[in-house]
């Protein structure tokens, strides 16, 4: 199953509001019988190592994760709404693979 990112964020906010951004990536390691031993990591040992959020090119949030965080990492944090713009969310697995999703937020 391909990892599937999910974002929960208000569609719009007023300037100055502090809003919570909830994120989840469904990242279940494959079943043992489907495992393919590669030179670097066994699929079961894969986990999300990095999670970065950028707002209009500036880093808003960064998390360095370990295998002790749940397999489908849920992370929530806050953002002070200042202006309308795009948020870019990027998850990176310890194997180096990464997934990105974009979210537009309207600030009035």
């Amino acid at each position: 199953m391909l990892p599937r990112p999910q974002i929960l964020i208000p569609e719009s906010a007023r300037a100055g509001d502090v809003i919570e951004i909830k994120t989840l990536i469904t990242h279940t390691p494959e079943q043992p019988e489907k495992q393919v031993k590669s030179a670097d990591t066994n699929t079961a040992d894969r986990y999300i190592r990095d999670f970065t959020v950028e707002f209009e090119g500036t880093q808003l949030f960064h998390a360095k994760l370990t295998s002790k965080v749940s397999s489908n990492p849920y992370i929530s944090f806050y953002m002070k709404a200042v202006k309308t713009g795009d948020l870019i969310f990027t998850w990176q697995e310890n194997s180096g693979r990464s997934w990105t999703t974009k979210h537009h937020i309207k600030v009035s």
Binding site: V18, T58, F61, V69, S70
Partner: protein, 156 residues
Amino acid sequence: MLFSIQKKISRRNFLTTSLTVSFPVITSWLLSSPSLASEEWKKHLRNMTADMKPVEGKVSIELPDIASHGNSVPVRILVDNPMTTESYIDNITLLSNRAVDPLLAEFELSPLNGKAEVSTYIKLDKDQEIMALAKTNNGKFFLGRRLAQVKPSREF
């Protein structure tokens, strides 16, 4: 005294009060558990804070009293500090005393966040102490600690 506490109870007050009340219990537990006071652990903390003593009482860790599933335990960390350009929390490190490598997760923040609060889900294979070390942009450290308990699983 109890009545005066109850009158002005709020979530934060409740946390502080419960911490104060349980302090002797936690202290005796800390002393009775050799793994917690291990030299290796203290050394790790000293390395992280560059020998500065972290201030306790500004970081709250919210966890279930007893987690029912050790593979996914919700944890929320709140730091009582403003997030302005003059003073803000730029790093929160989540640690466990039980693991060989104590690092669970590390979060980088900035004034853009508006609030020093993060939450996630962690794996807890057994009871352990969870610590959150928050660093300010001025190089000060705040430490929060909380006992995490997991309901023994029948599967094992």
